[in-house]
Symmetry: C2
């Protein structure tokens, strides 16, 4: 059995894998290098590297482990037709993303942007907009593993959490959970509207102009899911007309965000260049998931963790 | 009985007081205006406004409520000699200060300074230093009400907390508590060293050059207590020689921080101009404490909350 990595891991990590799986042959290519994909049964890669032409070459491929969370840009139907198993690293973004969301919210409430810029100009200037997170309300779109972790941390700060999902099924660390169609009723109550929704047929374009109008004038809107959740023009208008207070965006309709995009110029918009999931511990965690699944694969090929339903797309 | 406020409160807050305490006369001066202090029994003010000359004029004064936390610059001996009761607002800084500490730590770990500055220059530039709070260790000097609140929040992020106080008495939300003299043993373990110590004879100059040398090279040192905890030269040298990774300072030996102070120019030092306690909810909370104490005062003059021991200075 042969496994190909198309990204680099440390020598310690290689040794650990090779000692644990002595009957498996591992090949480690540089990032993006798919040399020898023809000969492998298992490919460990990032979602963006898998396309039709790669699949065509990879005749023996049985399992793709993507070290990404999103799979929406992968050729899912072809993968399904070829009967290739696809797993991702759902769950490993939980900690860095939840910490990023809390970092951004707290930074805004505790006036860090103004503190940082006063330092640059050596000004002893006390901000006049400092307030607290405690006692506020957050609405979390997509209270799955990442959303619930955000909810758990917000609750520790005394924030009321409202989850919003497709089914309305109660989710962890949410004071209550609502369904998508009740969003308009709850948006006016939220100080923070935070999306961590994946891109699926049901979430694309989910937020309309009316949703932004329904938010508080002081609301902080945060998109840490996918950039196709709404038409960016709606948000730009809401920010320009002060229909909402602030946006913090980690994802965009087009990434990298084009230089001419107006979001760059809006004072009340933080541009986080799709980095909320980054962490020095990323590969380490991805390998933990991979090792567990490789054990299961060798045993039986079934019951892998983080299995993607190729028709639902998550 | 007459009460003088030397700072402004809202009309709603005035009405609330006057309705609740119908036998008390309230006078509200502008901030810093001590007109009529001669005639009052109770003064509600900030610590910095109370000096010997004020005390001299305030012949009838029996109780000073300071809406500050620190009392170290007040003429405590004169207040004691005059047998004047002194109370402060210990506890009301807990939430904003703990949120500020977490904001700064998370901002650094999640690369917010670089995200903010890339926005300014419209650069889609992914930071390479993002890491997580989870799994790290924090040492908290002064695990009282503020320190314990910081500890509670850090623990929610999966951080190990070590409290350090005079007595070594177990304190809330600390995985363990050590005494000051054992500091040198624990400093090398801490990723975050956070002081919220007040200024007292025992804390002045508590941290020496050796303490900074004992910290990790990557340590983040945060002073949110008082600026006389150490000689600033020791910290400046530690930062310049990369003996520690970063400092975040809310307090300084001299405030406002003089323009010529080298701390302004160090890249690895955040200057927070003594604002970590600021909050839009500040006066509201101070009044809750004042109202409780005014009830007690009218009843019996004793058992006031947040009573300052004039000889210990806190």
């Amino acid at each position: 059995m042969k496994v190909l990595f198309t990204f680099e891991i440390t020598n310690d990590q290689k040794m650990r894998l090779e000692n644990k799986f002595r009957d498996v042959t591992f090949q480690y290519n540089k990032k993006g290098d798919t040399t020898d994909v023809e000969s492998v049964e298992i490919l460990v890669t990032y979602s963006s590297e898998v396309d039709s032409s790669l699949l065509e070459r990879a005749k023996k491929l049985k399992w793709i482990m993507t070290a990404s969370a999103g799979v929406e840009k992968m050729p899912l139907l072809e993968i399904a037709e070829r009967n290739i198993t696809l797993t991702n690293v759902r769950g490993i973004h939980k900690t860095p993303m939840a910490e990023s969301v809390l970092a951004h919210i707290l930074a805004l409430r505790r006036s860090l942007p103004s503190i940082y810029s006063s330092k640059e100009s050596k000004e002893w200037s006390r901000p006049d907009d400092s307030t607290e997170l405690m006692g506020s309300t957050a609405l979390i779109l997509g209270p799955g593993s990442i959303g619930s972790e955000i909810g758990r941390l917000l609750q520790a700060f005394g924030v009321k959490t409202i989850g919003c999902n497709r089914s309305g099924r109660i989710s962890e660390s949410m004071d209550k959970t609502i369904v998508f169609r009740d969003l308009m009723l709850e948006l006016p109550k939220a100080d923070y509207v935070i999306s961590v929704l994946p891109s699926t047929p049901e979430t694309r374009g989910l937020l309309t102009r009316e949703h932004f109008s329904a938010m508080k004038e002081t609301a902080v809107f945060m998109n840490f899911g996918r950039g196709d959740l709404f038409n960016e023009t709606f948000l730009i208008n809401a920010l320009k007309n002060n229909e909402i207070g602030q946006a913090v965006l980690d994802v965009f309709e087009v990434e990298p965000l084009p230089l001419e995009n107006e979001l760059w110029t809006l004072e009340n918009c933080v541009i986080s260049p799709h980095v909320s999931g980054l962490s020095s511990k990323y590969v380490e965690r991805a390998l933990i998931i991979f090792e567990k699944n490789l054990e299961l694969w060798i045993e039986s090929n079934v019951n892998l963790e983080n299995l993607i339903n190729l028709f639902d797309g998550y």
